[in-house]
């Protein structure tokens, strides 16, 4: 086990394109770090630079205190799970898992058998050890790939979108399985995904990348509650954060449907009449009729006509279309394109109680938790209302949790 330190890592291709641009990232010993971002953001390239399958143009890659820039992959003592698993089709499951051990000098046959059996039982592969990968299901293949990764004592595990080839149900199960395994072994892990659910649920910390640039590295909670910019805010969370045009009018802020006081943190950063973008998460809304009265004063009430509702059993989404100015529409379309989605229309998505009986194409009264609203500068995308103190608190909590886990005897390695 070891910490991974990246200092000003750059990957520049022959045509001058920088796939990874000046990324500095510290992955602590035992930490589960997620690299996330839309396709083409450089997350996989960065992972491949850690493992040594991709050359580093400039910067330092330090694993466990050693600079490994010029070391071959086999000398870095890392293990990796590939997106397509890259199992060896001509070998049985047992031999697939044993493969790294067979390449090591001085590991006896008994030792190999013991370690493979142990890894297989941890992953519930014992009864499949004699089969070939071609005869396994997708989930079993995925577990074989993990078995091959955990059978050695490595400095770190690297995962390259390991769950993207599985169906949704299996993905959920394997996600838990990976998390449990990492907690149990306590091995430093770097995990690449474009799926924000995986990012939120698995990671101690999440590094959000955009076009090769690191946007924010923080705990899932901090990313969700205190994003540094519109990109992070829009990427994290599903359904995504709602972005609404907001015009500054003195100490008030005029939004579609709403008129609220300008948040304290934004005062001084904005000028009168300026157009801003307000970000509000779907779960910061509620059907006014079902609202906990204690909450009422914290937010604001508004009436709006619901276009479509989606009832999911445990919750309910309502879609409320609104008109936005040209500038905001264009800004939102650009952001959507970058997030690999399509901006179909400007609409507000609100998550309300499943008990709510509001009807499509009727007006209803909603409550918005305006205290938790963020304001973004439409040109730079910067978050004008990020609460640094709250963010620092969250970061501190995360650090404590990690230290607690790494130091506790339960998490001791095998």
């Amino acid at each position: 086990m070891a910490a991974i330190e990246m200092r000003n890592i750059v990957k520049e291709y022959g045509d001058g394109f920088k796939a990874v641009n000046d990324v500095s990232l510290h992955v602590a010993d035992g930490e589960f770090m997620i690299l996330v971002g839309p396709s083409g953001c450089g997350k996989s390239t960065l992972l491949r630079m850690i493992v040594g399958l991709e050359d580093i143009t400039s910067g330092d890659m330090v694993i466990g205190g050693d600079r490994v820039n010029d070391k071959a992959p086999r000398d870095r003592n890392l293990s990796m799970v590939f997106q397509n698993y890259a199992l060896y089709p001509h070998l049985t499951v047992f031999e697939n898992i044993a493969f790294p051990l067979r390449l090591m000098k001085g590991v006896g046959e008994d030792e190999i058998r013991r370690r493979v059996t142990e890894a297989a039982s941890m992953l519930e592969l014992t009864e499949h050890l004699d089969r070939k990968p071609a005869n396994l299901s997708g989930g079993q293949r995925q577990r074989v790939a993990m078995g091959r990764a955990i059978v050695r004592n490595v400095n770190a595990f690297l995962f390259d979108e390991p769950l993207s080839n599985l169906d949704a149900k299996l993905r959920g199960q394997m996600r838990t399985e990976i998390s449990r395994m990492q907690r149990r072994l306590g091995t430093t892990t770097v995990y690449v995904t474009h799926d924000q659910t995986e990012a939120m649920t698995l990671g101690d910390r999440v590094a959000v990348l955009r076009r090769g640039l690191l946007q924010q590295v923080a705990s899932p909670r901090e990313l969700y509650e205190q994003p540094v910019n519109m990109f992070v805010a829009g990427f994290i969370g599903s359904p995504p954060m709602n972005f609404l045009p907001a015009v500054v009018a003195g100490d008030r802020l005029r939004l579609p449907f709403l008129d609220v006081g300008l948040p304290d943190r934004a005062t001084g950063k904005v000028t009168d009449g300026q157009l801003l973008i307000a970000g509000m998460r779907p779960d910061h809304f509620e059907d006014a009729g079902l609202l906990d009265p204690a909450k009422r004063d914290r937010g604001a009430l508004f009436r709006a006509k619901v276009d479509v509702t989606e009832w999911l059993g445990d919750s309910q989404y309502a879609y409320i279309p609104f008109e936005a100015g040209e500038e905001v529409t264009r800004q939102l379309a650009d952001l959507a394109a970058e997030l690999d989605s399509e901006a179909l229309r400007t609409q507000l998505i609100v998550k309300i109680d499943a008990m709510s009986r509001l009807r499509e194409n009727h007006e209803a009264e909603f409550w918005a938790d305006t205290a938790r609203m963020h304001l973004f500068d439409p040109r730079t995308g910067a978050n004008l209302t990020r609460d640094e103190a709250a963010a620092a608190d969250l970061a501190h909590l995360e650090e404590e949790e990690l230290r607690d886990r790494v130091d506790s005897p339960d998490a001791a390695p095998r």
Binding site: R74, A86, F99, R152
Partner: protein, 268 residues
Amino acid sequence: MFWLAGAVLIIAYAVIPVIWIVSLSFKEGDDITNKSFLPTVWSWENYRTVFASDLFTTALRNSVGMSLIATTISVILATLAAYAISRLNFPGKRLVLGVALAITVFPVIAIATPLFNLWRTIGLYDTWLGLIIPYLSYSLPLSVYVLSAFFREIPWEMEQAAQVDGATNWQAFRRVIVPLAAPGVFTAAILTFFAVWNDFVFGITLTSSEAARPVPAALAFFQGASQFSQPTAPIAAAAVVVTIPVVVLVLLFQRKIVAGLTNGAVKG
């Protein structure tokens, strides 16, 4: 009905000459002029004649020896070359493949005479090596072509996974890539073996004695049981004998060849 008739026609077209040769090889003495398809008396006489003649047995030894040597060298070199072509980026890569393709379509007869003169000058004429070299130069490009198509289909990740697992380039090649390419290697080996085994042009032009003459060429020098009888029947028997290894190989490796040929062809 139409298809059945067509199928019967094509099968007859392909098989009748073969059966005819087999039937001829069993005809005794003057029986070949019996004006019927089958021999009047089935006899092993021609086979005895063939195996009793030094001409045939040494030629058979030459053929087997040279075919095996040429095939082995060709497949080993082609595996390494095809791996380099499919995996590495080096200047002139396309040129190598282009030249390889050009060589396979180059008419054999055109270089037979120049080689004859060259080999006589440098002393390779009528030796095994003198035949193995031209065999290699024709079979290597073909093998490289077949194998590089195979290697291209093996995902890069296989090797990368092996490297991360602690393998050197050589270990990754030998323990992962070669086993995966085995059907391709088989295909290349069998194609090479057939090509060399069936060669006539080099065999007849570059040899003058039993020292290196392969079977197809030796058949042309065959004599009958007596000076006055046409050697047709013994030649038929010899032809049957040299066909047997090819048929056995095909039957043994049929499934691998089919898998190999289509594997290389379907996905590019």
